[in-house]
């Protein structure tokens, strides 16, 4: 358009020449794909843009899928012992032997007993090329305890061994154990998170929103629960769990109860946030529309600090996955034969193991991976739900 006159001049009367049609489509407003999309769909679209989150989400989905077919993925069964390979270090997977391409293979391990230090010393036998087999028949297993099968994704060579991440003190393949451990670590812990979140949001939400005597009572309950550290609770709970429960059931019970007890921190955060937010006009608007408390809390208030909730959730996950490590220090929690990442990690409980067999710490890696994935997923969800993005 034209310049608004030179500096300081009297402004000329400018009139735009272009034809004017007040009914013309408003070009200022972008596309119309959004018209019908529901809020969820919108979020999904936005979530998709967040590549890292999308990737994390997919990775998690894959992991959850993997725990379904662990039997197939793991070269060994969870309890398979190799008495000749106790504390064997991880075996490197090679592709070339003597400069020739052979495909993925490992060298056979030679073990010698060091009788002064009582240590098993392993060395690669470079003459012994053990080619890995894929989609192979290997150790028979009972898929889901239902169907007998023996198909594996990867197996060691006939009469060979394949310990990708080494073995433990009974010669069990750590890689396979990590895979099996995922079953418990990726499921049970989340139950606790879920319980504590539902409770935290509902109770904290109502306390913050209603306030008054309800808040008073809830706050006192929270005080009581918070003032008792988890460890005595654990001890007490473990003591009253019916003795004829299987360890898995006991752990499930404890996680669940911990979930029942763990909501307090979140509830207080929710409450104090709601105490402030409930004074907002949009809450009043919703009230005046006749919305009931759950709706106001769920639709209007809670989304207002979604970020906090998502962050808290992703932060609780590690403690739930690793919860049993604490338990096992108290002599409670999961026990062999049940295998979880926490159980695997507790095998590395002493400096001597750490110094001699550091590969026993490898289960930390999937834990880190899962936590990162959940975290980035949370970031993505947060952004998707953030209207300002």
């Amino acid at each position: 358009m034209t310049k608004p006159g030179a500096d300081g001049d009297v402004l000329p009367h400018y009139v735009r020449e272009a034809p004017f049609d007040p009914y013309a489509d408003d070009a200022a407003s972008g596309s119309s794909t959004l018209d019908e999309a529901s809020q969820l769909k919108l979020m999904w679209w936005r979530f998709r843009r967040h590549k890292l989150a999308l990737f994390s989400g997919i990775a998690l989905l894959i992991m959850y899928f993997m725990i379904v077919i662990v039997e197939f993925l793991a070269p060994y069964k969870v309890h398979t012992r190799n008495m000749d390979h106790i504390f064997a270090p991880p075996q490197g997977v090679h592709l070339f032997h003597d400069g020739k391409f052979v495909g993925p293979f490992v060298y056979g391990q030679k073990m010698t007993l060091d009788m002064t230090t009582l240590r098993r010393v392993y060395s690669d036998d470079t003459g012994d090329v053990q080619k890995l087999r894929f989609f192979c028949r290997g150790e028979p297993y009972r898929f889901w305890g239902l169907v007998d099968a023996n198909l594996h994704l990867v197996c060691p060579a006939e009469n060979g061994h394949f310990f990708l991440l080494g073995t433990d003190r009974l010669g069990r393949d750590i890689f396979s154990r990590i895979l099996y451990g995922a079953r418990i670590s990726l499921t049970i812990g989340l139950l606790g998170v879920a319980t504590s979140f539902v409770l935290g949001i509902v109770i904290g939400g109502l306390a913050g929103y209603w306030g008054g005597w309800f808040d008073l009572v809830v706050q006192r309950i929270i005080e009581m629960l918070q003032s008792i550290p988890t460890i005595p609770l654990w001890l007490a709970l473990a003591a009253i769990m019916p003795v004829d429960w299987s360890p898995l059931l006991v752990y499930l019970g404890i996680t669940f109860i911990l979930g029942l007890l763990d909501w307090t921190g979140l509830a207080r955060a929710v409450r104090s946030k709601l105490l402030a937010l409930r004074e907002e006009d949009y809450v009043l608007a919703a009230q005046l529309m006749g919305a009931k408390s759950p709706r106001i809390i769920g639709r209007h208030l809670v989304p207002g600090f979604m970020s906090h909730l998502i962050a808290s959730a992703t932060l609780t996950i590690p403690s739930m996955i690793l919860g049993e490590t604490t338990l096992s220090f108290l002599g409670l929690g999961l026990r062999p034969p049940i295998t979880s990442w926490g159980v695997l990690l507790t095998e590395a409980r002493s400096v001597s193991v750490l110094a001699l067999y550091p590969w026993l710490l490898l289960p930390v890696i999937p834990v880190i991976f899962v936590i990162l994935a959940f975290n980035f997923l949370g970031d993505g969800l947060r952004d998707a739900a953030d209207p300002y993005k």
Partner: protein, 335 residues
Amino acid sequence: MREMIRYIAWRFMVMIPTLLLISMLIFTIIELPPGDFFESYVEELKAIGEKADMQEIEDLKARYGFDQPMPIRYLNWVGGMLHGDFGYSFEYRMPVSDVVGDRLWLTILVSTVTIILTWLLAFPIGIYSATHQYSWGDYGLTLFGLIGLAVPNFVLALILMYLANIWFGTSIGHLMDQKYLSQPMSWEKFKSILEHIWIPVIIIGTAGTAGMVRRVRANLLDELHKQYVMTARAKGLHPFKVLMKYPFRMSLNFFISDIGSILPAVISGAEITAVVLSLETTGPMLIRALQAQDMYLAGSFLMFLAFLTVVGVLVSDIALAILDPRIRLRGGSTK
């Protein structure tokens, strides 16, 4: 203001029944596991083949009313505490207050250092992460923090302890070299404490710091786009000051609501670490007392924590009301 004072007074009143209830809860929790201290003591001795001094045990049992029904024992315990008598530790065979002794101060030392360090790190990092969302810095710090979160404390403890020993020759575990253990404070001892304390502080602090960073970041992200931020910018306020005065203060809400549980959380979060590192703090003692069912020791200790929590919650509520004038603590919701 007057309302606030009345509120505080009223809350103090409420504290009494709360503490009573808590004491009952604690008492039940301690009593829940089967048996009592003496049974487990005798069992433990038997496990290594030793004989117990049954005479003294019988005496103690009678003196502390173990033959009496639970409610009476409860009353004895609570009554004692009201007189400042925290009971008797069977395991240590001395009054609880003597047992706790030094450990309490060391615990407070470790906890405060940890908490302060957590704050010193978490707030700046959280702010940085929020304002530089998706920068390399943000990713890097997130990654770092989450790794700290994902590695169980005991593993971290073992690794750090081992490395510190190999690299710096720091003696393994403990809060100081053992030769200073029962010594009076001296420069050497202080140095030794400094040399050791960083390990537990890092271990206990990482998870908390990582969590805090993520929360600060999340809360800030929610506030950064509010209209009042724009207003503040329109005034020409420095962006950092804008951040601190408005969104940051708003985002403190979650943090303040949690004050009550910070100390208990740090203390109980530190328990396993303290056990692994064999720190001279109350954590291992508490666990030991619980396992051995040294009930007065455990009970009084838990009561102490509970008291801290209850006061913390009160402080947190008051701070909330001061922080955010919209908050009306007493009233119910409008409608």
